[in-house]
Each structure stands twice: as structure tokens, then as C-alpha cells.
Amino acid sequence: MTDHDELDAILAAHAGREGALLPILHDVQGAFGHVSETSVRRIAQALNLTRAEVHGVVSFYHDFREEPENRPVLKLCRAESCQARGVEALAAALPDNPRVKVETVYCLGLCSVGPAAMIGHEVHGRLDVARLGALVESLA
């Protein structure tokens, strides 16, 4: 199946659904890793929206990316509760690893067992410098 067919299959699966744009964008990003200019064009056409409207939605939400990210991503929570548990010191001590993308998120809902991080759907709590470093290493 080509990318074009896969995109059409996603659009067909959501046809007729009310407020379908976000679910479509999630599926597109899930399938291709990002929401490309070509996808935006095709989605806009299918939903009878302008490209500007779709681009506006894609750029509004932190989750959607317009460029592919080929590195593994670790989401590190740096909200208040994790701050109180020392995440800023961990972030400062984290060595730069060009092969891993460390993203900041605000809250994973693990506020009682922070500092916390998420890789894909896998959650990690009670991180210290060594454990966070090992997690990043394991992805590289």
C-alpha cells in the first residue's frame, strides 16, 4: 500500500464522523510519524476545509509535528510536582545525546511518584540522575 492509499484509507475510516479532524491527525501521525504538507492538502480536501484551517489545527497542538522525527523520543515531565521532586536537577545533569530526543511535557499524571518520564506508552517514575541517564542510553 502506498502512502497515498494509506492516507485515503484513514480518511475513509473517519468519513461521516462528527469533528473528525483530530482523530484523523492522530492516525496520520501514527502512520507516517508526522503530518506532512501533502497530508494537510489531502485532509483539507476530504473534509472540505481550507489548507490554512488544517494547518492552523496541526500547528496549534503540541502533539502534531510537521517534520519527521526519526530519533526515539523520551518525554520528561517538568511540571510543578516533578519540579518539587527535583526534575530540574536531573534535566541539568542529563548529558546531550544527539541520538535521543528529550521532550518536555507538562504532567504525565504521575505527580506522586515523580520525576516521571514516558517513552511511547511506557511510563517510568521515581527517576534519579542514574536511572534517567540509563533510560536515555537504552534508547540511543
Partner: protein, 513 residues
Amino acid sequence: MTVVRISDDAAALACGANAVAAAFAAAGCDVERVSSWGMHWLEPLVDIDGQGFGPLEPGDVEAVLAGTSPKAIGRIAEHPFIARQQRFTFARAGKTRPLSLDDYAATGGWAGLKRARELGPEATIAEVTHSGLRGRGGAGFPAGIKWTTVAKAAGPVKYIVCNADEGDSATFADRMVMEGDPFMLIEGMAIAGHAVGAGKGYIYVRSEYPHAIAKLNTAIALAVPHIAPFEVEVRVGAGAYVCGEETSLLNSLEGKRGEVRAKPPLPALEGLFGKPTVVNNVLTLAAVPWILANGGQAYAEVGFGRSRGTMPIQLAGNVKHGGLFEIGFGVTLGELVFDIGGGTATGRPVRAVQVGGPLGAYHPPADFHLPFDYEAFSSADGLIGHAGLTVFDETADMSAQARFAMSFCAAESCGKCTPCRIGSTRGVELIDRIRARAGRAADKVEALPQMHNARKAPRTLAEDVTLLEDLCETMKFGSLCALGGFTPYPVLSALKHWPEDFGVAVPDQDAAE
């Protein structure tokens, strides 16, 4: 065979519950995955015949099974943290398998919906109104009144929207409901749908909660025969904090940018797709089955002042005993932090407690007499919000926390209104200058001779502080929603209670406000 019960709540998973479960299974035990008791400092917590052991690692399994583990905590139900609670919403926590319809029915599940159907819509709303239940998302608006408005609104199509965009730091009660007792939330939504005449419900869950999303989807498929003809669908957010605000959530559900809408029109009259819509928080809807099953009066008998019933309070941050503590309103902040939370995890003195997430005020120990009650907190320049407490020890730099509040607002602002969009960025700059004790000289343009009204003299630290207060005032009263409107709470409370962190020598802030 020994039955070992281990939670599969995300907090337990983050602490390694799967590895512990696998070790018990390898030792020949029958492992059941249940919801979490809410004692997160003990996770992974294992329950064998009511006896608790935690926090366990895979290497502890042998000692636990031999009865020699030093990590035994005695009977879980009699643990002081549990015994002191009044659990209505979290009555099943730790006891049932989240996706077991049998467990749910055996513990009183569907009784509320059954009674609502017997009572009919009007009496159902009357029961909720009588219970005094107020919106648990933070605003504290009476649920019964909102439901009445939607019920009376004209139109054949109405919606129930469950706000599960729990973005506030220190809050995880919504997540625990969705992961630990999803049928209760679905039942609550079905009752709301029955009461106001809505046929469809949406649960808007943040994308940071993949475990909750998976559990809800499975639970909804299983619950179809119980809630039909009412339908529930999960919609996943996309990382925008502001979508926890009800009108921006509605825009997001419609597939638009999550920008805030001006009110009126109220969502109760013109909500999702312009149709009358009940927007309630997870905890509000999850409280409804209990209220219907046990009567509004029983719920109203618990509480304090105009805050009736129980509140699932979340203890987080630098606290020794972090977790979920559900109790009637009226418990004091000091009791929560010290008696229940056990003080800080680091053992240092408490410096500040932020109540209500990133938009809640920082409270000093001098405020610890405050009873947990919407009105009491609002009269102390604070808010309960979603009832999350973040404890900070004495190492916290409160001007840095104030700066974070502004930068968080700048990062998450939807951009619709100016005080929030611009004010937050100017606030970060201003706090940076205050922290650097830099003052501010006239810039190039201001220094031009033709700028007659621009000030030429440098601004002093004291003037910058006054300017910050002024900016907060503008944001508080000029913003469309709580993001810009409440960001001043953490900023001003930090400035008021810890002026030394801002370089302000003698505090005379009371006069200034």
C-alpha cells in the same frame, strides 16, 4: 494457589509493577491486576488476602511468600491512610479489576443508573441538585443547576461531554478513575444522558494518558448492553493544556484549534456543535452513580459549608505519603500536609504548598489552618481547583516558581485574548528582570526626543514589582478564561508570601493589594 493482587494503574506501572507481577507469576501465584489503593509511596503494592506489602521489587517476592518480608504493612484496609478516608468515588479502589463487569456489578455497579431510570429524568436531576454536588473540575458550579439548564434547553440533539483533560500538575484522580473504575464514569455519563435527554457522550482524554484511553475504550465496548441506547465515545486530545477549559475543549472536539470561546452563550445552551451540552469533569460524573444509588441526602450530609460531599484530594510533589486521599470537605491544609502526607519526602521543612495545579496559589505554612472548602480558599486568595496539592520544601525558589507560572501560561496560551497571550510573555520578562535585580532603562525608541510621553529615567526594582502586580491585575480581570485569569494566583501569592525571593526587603504587600 495464592492470589496476589497488584495494581495496573499507571503510577504502579511507573514504579515497576509489571516486573513484580511477573515475578509472582513465575513463583506460581495467581496474579490479579486490580485498581490502585492510592497509596502511591507504597507502589508497587501487593495485596495477598488483604495483607499489604510494598513497595516491592521483583527480588522481594520470595520473602513475601515465605512470610518474612520486612515490607509487610499489615491489613491494607486498616492502614491509617485508608482508614481515615471517606471513600465514595474511590470505594472500589484497590479492590476490583478495572475491566471486570462481574466485579463492578458485585460492588454495587449499575445501581445508580437503575434507580435513575426508575425515578425518571426530573427526579434524577432533583437528586443530584439535592446532593449539593459541585463541579469538581475547579469552578465548583452546582452540577444540578447545569443539568437543569440543559434539560430545559430546546432541541432534539444534546450531548454529555466528560472533561478528562486533566493537565494540572499534582492531579491524577481523573486518571485513577479512568484506569481503575472506568465503568463508574460510563455509568455516571449514562445517568447524565438519561437526566437531560442526551443520546451521546464524549470523553475527551489527554493524549498523555494512553493507559486510561485503552481502558476506557475496552470498558465502553463491554458496557454497551448496560447503557444502551446511550453511546459513549473517547476522543483523544493532542497536548494542549488549555483544552481543559470547557469551551476550548468543545472547539477541540469539533476538530478546531483549541481556542477559548467567549461566554455567553453558555455551553449548556450552545455547546458542542452548537447543541445544548453538559460539560462535567470526570470526578463530577463519577460521583453521580453513588449519589443516585445512595440518595442525594446521604451525600449532602458529608462536607463543610457550601461544599458538600467528598473530595478526592491528591497529595503530590515533595511529600512523604503521596497518593489519593478522599475525604469530606473541611479537612485542613495542615492536616493534609503533615498528618496525612507525613511532611516532605526529603525531610526538610515545608516552604510552600501549591493547591489547585499550575493556576493555584502557593500557600505558606501560615495558611495551614484553612479548611478544604471552595469559599475558604477563595477568601484566602487561592483556589481548590482539582484538589491537587504540590508540596515544596525549603529549597524551593519562589520567584522561580512565579516565573514558571508565567512561562507555562505563555507556552499554553491559546492566543485568543491579549492579556493572556502577551501578558504572560511580558510577565516572564518582568520577573526575569526582578530576579536579576536589573531595573530597566529606557530603550532606544523610548529615549527618542519625540517620544514625549515615554519615561526616560530607569525603572527601579520597586517599580517593577508594582508593574508586575498591575500586569497580574490586568490578566486576572481581562482574560477570557482561567488560564490567563488564574496565572496571577501563583505569581501574586509567591510575591506576597515570599517577597525576599524577589529581592523586596520589607514586605508591605497587604497595603499594596
